[in-house]
Amino acid sequence: MSDTKKTIPLREGLWTDKGHDGTPHLLGHRCLNCGEVFFPQKENGTCTNCHSTKLELIELSRKGKVFAFSVVMLRPPGGYYRGDVPYALANVELPEGIVVEGLVTDINQDDIKVGMEMELTIDKLHDDDEGNTLMTYKFRPSAA
């Protein structure tokens, strides 16, 4: 392809497009000492709970439940977020015992409820200044 425009992840290391089951998974760290799980990966390689440096890279579960959410009606300061307003954010609790914040897509924003089953999806965030498409992780209602 001669097209120089690329599809690039918002940030390396947040997820893998092809996990053990061939589908996308968020990437986190599990502490081998205390068992605590972190997302995103701990850049400093240290467990915040027990301070151990023995961490293993893990794929997080694709599905979780809405722990809390909001529909944001104003544009965030700084111009970093370039998507639509209003937009929905949710804290999704994964079976690993952690809560992950993310954008919510593929749903009527008025229908989001605490406890609702969500699943991971990799979706477009926005085009950057060079015309590349930035991709990010989002949550959408789980397909049962």
Binding site: V37, S70, V72, G78, Y81, L89, V114
Partner: protein, 378 residues
């Protein structure tokens, strides 16, 4: 914590909180003007002169390098140590805690804590979030509060009407406070029909921004110019975040700060006659009262409905209108909380005076996270 000598409040000063931006006929005032006005007022209140002050701790968030030096040089240049403190919304209480410890530990006899702010014009940069999170739109403070509110509703059954009642109570109290930015009461209907900012929070659930200055002078008892109606600093606590997750429930830093303060003071929640809880967003006041130990989790909405937290109630809360009425100059807010408790205990709160207030608690918390608690008593 080591036993220290008694520390008393010598005097306090506060400016009117307002938007000093030159718009709509409002004057332009810089942070150092607001800070120095508050400091001068505190000196007058204490019957002291600047040369009586041996050290200064100054809280601000957006005022830049040497902000305390700039405010103080308008009052005096005596070579004393001045230390500037940026601890987000707890900056003022962080400054007062250090002043209290310096006097308590007998390093100095008379120290001033100041807090002031001129809020940035235009959007505030949210450096507390990494860039990738800002790109995903996480950097909206009301959205964080909204998610906490959703959890609180889920766990306690509290309603949007309960949150509106906090705004109504505080704005009613604020109408009696000439220093407050907002002095017009609001109704439940007005709150519930104000525009949504981050579901379920609306415009009138949020405190407005403001600029302002505050100052509190503390000293040893022998340095007081008058022994009339002496107010003692019974406790000053500051606690930061404690690790927790759904798997490992960590101790709540607000509860810990209150527990530490009550232990220091040798008093309990039942001994407090007036409370300044933290109401940047109106639901926050409810869970704050619960976390500080004034009632059990989920009880605050019912107590509010029953008038428990009204000016005439059993435990008046945010008698000066709180952040909701005063507005929120970040570096000045925490000491404004303390100054109201001082006024109430002195019996100087005018039309919003609580009958026979002997002890009270002031709370400030926010980014960091930080949670600062001051207890004053007669």
């Amino acid at each position: 914590m080591k036993k220290m000598r008694e520390v008393v409040v010598a005097g306090v000063g506060i400016t009117k909180f307002d938007s000093y931006d030159g718009e709509k006929g409002r004057p332009v005032r810089e942070f150092y003007d607001l800070g120095s006005e508050a400091i001068q007022k505190a000196l007058d209140d204490a019957g002291m002169e600047w040369k009586d002050i041996q050290a200064a701790f100054c809280g601000s968030v957006y005022c830049g390098t040497g902000s305390g030096h700039q405010a103080i040089q308008k009052v005096g240049l005596t070579g004393i140590p001045i230390v500037n403190i940026e601890n987000a919304c707890s900056s003022g209480i962080s400054a007062l805690r250090l002043a209290y410890q310096m006097v308590g530990a007998e390093i100095y006899d008379c120290v001033i804590a100041a807090g002031f702010e001129q809020m940035p014009r235009g959007p505030i940069q949210s450096t507390a979030w990494p860039v990738w999170q800002r790109q995903m739109g996480f950097n909206v403070q009301p959205a964080d509060y909204a998610m906490k509110t959703v959890r609180y509703m889920e766990e306690t059954g509290a309603t949007e009407e309960d949150f509106a009642r906090v705004s109504v109570k505080n704005r009613k109290n604020g109408a009696l406070n000439p220093n407050a930015r907002m002095q017009k009461p609001v109704t439940i209907e007005e709150v519930l029909s104000s525009r949504m900012i981050a579901k379920p929070l609306r415009f009138l659930n949020a405190c407005p921004l403001a600029d302002g200055g505050t100052a509190v002078i503390v000293c040893s008892r022998d340095k007081l110019k008058s022994q009339n109606k002496v107010v003692t600093v019974a406790a000053a606590a500051l606690v930061t975040g404690i690790y927790g997750s759904p798997r490992i429930p960590g101790e709540d830093h607000v509860t810990k700060s209150a527990n530490e303060a009550f232990e220091m003071a040798g008093l309990g929640p039942e001994d407090m006659d007036v409370v300044q809880a933290y109401d940047t967003m109106s639901p926050g006041e409810l869970w704050d009262l619960e976390k500080l130990g004034f009632c059990k989790k989920g009880e605050a909405p019912r107590l509010l409905r029953e008038g428990h937290f009204d000016l005439s109630g059993k435990l008046p809360v945010n008698t000066d209108g709180g952040l909701m009425s005063r507005g929120h100059p970040l570096g000045a807010t925490a000491l404004a909380q303390v100054i109201e408790i001082y006024r109430q205990i002195r019996g100087e709160a005018g039309p919003r005076q609580v009958a026979d207030a002997k002890a009270g608690l002031a709370h400030a918390m926010g980014a960091g996270p930080n949670s600062g608690v001051i207890i004053l008593k007669r």
